[in-house]
Symmetry: C2
Subunit: 400 residues, 2 copies
């Protein structure tokens, strides 16, 4: 393994962005499309409505036949048939004729308007009309709602219930979306056990496995939690090899520094370590490597540190694989308290968000509760020692 220097965050991000992973597209049934990201512009293959459609129950007429009508001298038209929703009408009317039509039905040939049944009278096979109606009254013309060929939805948008309904409206039963990146998740450590197992002396329950799995799911990825690797070469290698069935492998470190070195040497043996240390706190020990075109991340063990580095480095990659931009999303908030940092270190401190303010969480990064209470973290630049109360700062949210 080549000697690798601790690199600045920007350099690390460039390296992650240049990993050999690309967005993949898959075609799925519309019924599974809710929440997925569209991978193509969608234009309408049909007119909506597909035909001139009655918008009321009543009589389809030639509108010009009604123009002389008034209350005392109603126009009388002969009703020559009926047409209902879902039927193909084979009636054509001539001047002086009308057809009973129900809402949603196709306007028969020769007609250009529909008059509501509530405002006319019926006498035998005649309908009496008391006022003129204008052409297209009671009609929705073919394609006026959505013309064939219209751009409906743009590539990159997340499909909500309105979008899936729109795709249904134009008859599309399948849709192209970005494939969910498949992500293997491995916790490491001799002390770590899974929920439900007996808590023997010296053991602690796993946190990062569940946190990373569910954060990946919230981001729109497809997580596969592979359980816990022990702090030895065989266990780590076995789990890493199992992880290579997926696009990305996320390891979260046990507490021990030795595991990190083991992880790096296994990656180096199977592929290439691209980063071994980033000049940020937390995250200095983070490892990034490539094995057979699969990306592998060794994240810190403390939950806050692990999720901070996931948010900084892995979340942008997942967003890119889902067709989005590779970038860290910042928001601006005001600090409620003064924060001290160490000059010469770029630090990320957990904060709780309340409206437009960020409340620093002063517990150590080893505390689970500092992670649970955090809504994100604030960036303290290298050359800064103190962030003042009320200062506006960059905050990165745990928001997927």
């Amino acid at each position: 393994m080549a000697f690798l220097k601790v690199v600045p965050l920007e350099r690390a991000l460039n390296i992650v962005n240049s990993l050999p992973l690309n967005a993949k597209i898959e075609e799925i049934p519309l019924e599974n499309a809710l929440g997925r990201i569209l991978a193509e512009d969608v234009t309408s293959p049909v007119n909506v409505p597909p035909f001139d459609r009655a918008t009321v129950d009543g009589y389809a007429v030639k509108s010009e036949n009604t123009w002389n009508a008034n209350e005392s001298n109603p126009v009388r038209l002969k009703v020559i048939g009926e047409v209902h929703a879902g039927e193909e009408p084979n009636i054509e009317i001539n001047s002086g004729e009308a057809v009973y039509i129900s809402t949603g039905a196709v306007l028969p040939k020769g007609t250009d308007a529909v008059i509501e049944f509530e405002i006319v009278d019926r006498e035998g096979d005649e309908v009496l009309i008391y006022k003129p109606i204008y052409p297209q009254a009671g009609v929705m013309k073919a394609g006026t709602d959505i013309p064939k060929g219209k751009l409906l939805l743009k590539k990159g948008m997340k499909l909500g219930f309105k979008e899936t309904a729109l795709l249904s409206a134009v008859g599309l039963e399948k849709v192209k979306v970005f494939a969910k990146p498949k992500i293997a998740i491995i916790s490491t450590g001799n002390e770590v056990i899974l929920p439900g197992e007996e808590l023997k002396p010296g053991k602690i329950y796993d946190i990062n496995g569940r946190a990373l799995n569910d954060a990946v799911k919230e981001l729109g990825g497809d997580p596969h939690f592979l359980g816990i690797a022990r702090d030895n070469e065989e266990s780590l290698r076995t789990k890493i090899l199992e992880g290579l069935k997926y696009d990305i492998v996320l390891l979260s470190g046990g507490a021990s520094g030795g595991t990190r070195d083991l992880t790096a040497s296994i990656i180096d043996e199977l592929g290439e370590v691209r980063i071994h240390g980033i000049a940020i706190q937390p995250g200095k020990p983070t490892i990034i490597g490539v094995i057979n075109e699969k990306a592998i991340f060794g994240l810190p063990g403390y939950p806050t540190s692990c999720l901070t580095n996931f948010t900084l480095l892995v979340a942008p990659l997942i967003r890119k694989l889902l067709g989005g931009e590779f970038k860290i999303e910042y928001t601006r908030k005001r600090l409620t308290h003064k924060v001290f940092s160490v000059k010469g270190r770029r630090q990320f401190l957990p904060v709780k968000i309340k409206e437009e303010t960020a409340i620093p969480i002063m517990k150590g990064s080893g505390a689970i509760t500092s992670f649970i209470n955090a809504d994100g973290f604030v960036e303290v630049p290298e050359n800064v020692e103190i962030l003042e109360e009320g200062e506006e700062v960059n905050v990165i949210l745990f928001k997927f």
Copy 2:
């Protein structure tokens, strides 16, 4: 069927709220819990950490042994063993002794502090300490992160990745959540076909089936789309009977008024119609009934009308079945344009939301595009004819 009057919205909501449906609770594995609603308060069954835990790699010592240490006269302690993360230590130290300890390991008996290996020297089996350390330095005491019995999460909260991680941290492999209400969805109409089918003359593609299915899913319910019932008694009865396997049946009307009467008479035959018409627009023809303790809603056919009534009447019921409050959620926005309404009618008009404003959508409710563009709808009270530009109004969001 008893003669049923059109009722005010408040009365309709009271009737919906008194339907014989109640929230159900189920226990599920933690790995499926993301996004579900907690049905119990959760307290921690364990201390976190479960033992006094080293937070650095170094030497576990009796802190009082170091109090005389300084740069020129280091204290020398005899290293009598090692303890690593995950191990149960069976070492007890006496005054003048130390134990090598790795991060995450259990503090051995007789020790009360850990000094980092970077700031000491090792000579053979002795460690040289150059400065005093205080009790609990380098140690996280048992239960200081989360004490056993602490209230962690409250009933009714939605589980995000931080909450599932917290449940994992305290070793809970199962969690009680509100069961997703099972909701059957039926579209009706002779003219309605499903996406992927051939668009023959007179036919249109279904919209409401997909819209209701996916809106229910976004709300946290479990939708089952049963396809399309035709405008005849047998087809409607068959689909309604199939729907009664679920908790709630949502029918969305075909365009025809006749279907509504058929639906009402089938409900009346199988159970009881509780509402046949609500004094709102859109929504006047809405039917609400009960069959064998299952609720059945006959919603309007036009997409905007259908989803408006779903949001007003069905969404509060689903929220209640998921442990929440039965209520309509309003937000306040400013109108960008004057809106005319009809005095004596309580109207709901589709609007697009842009920041703090609501932009009225003036297309007819028959247009799919007016539904697709709407983010919600504004309420125009009965006694109001005009809402002025800039006026603050009640908006109900299509937000599930």
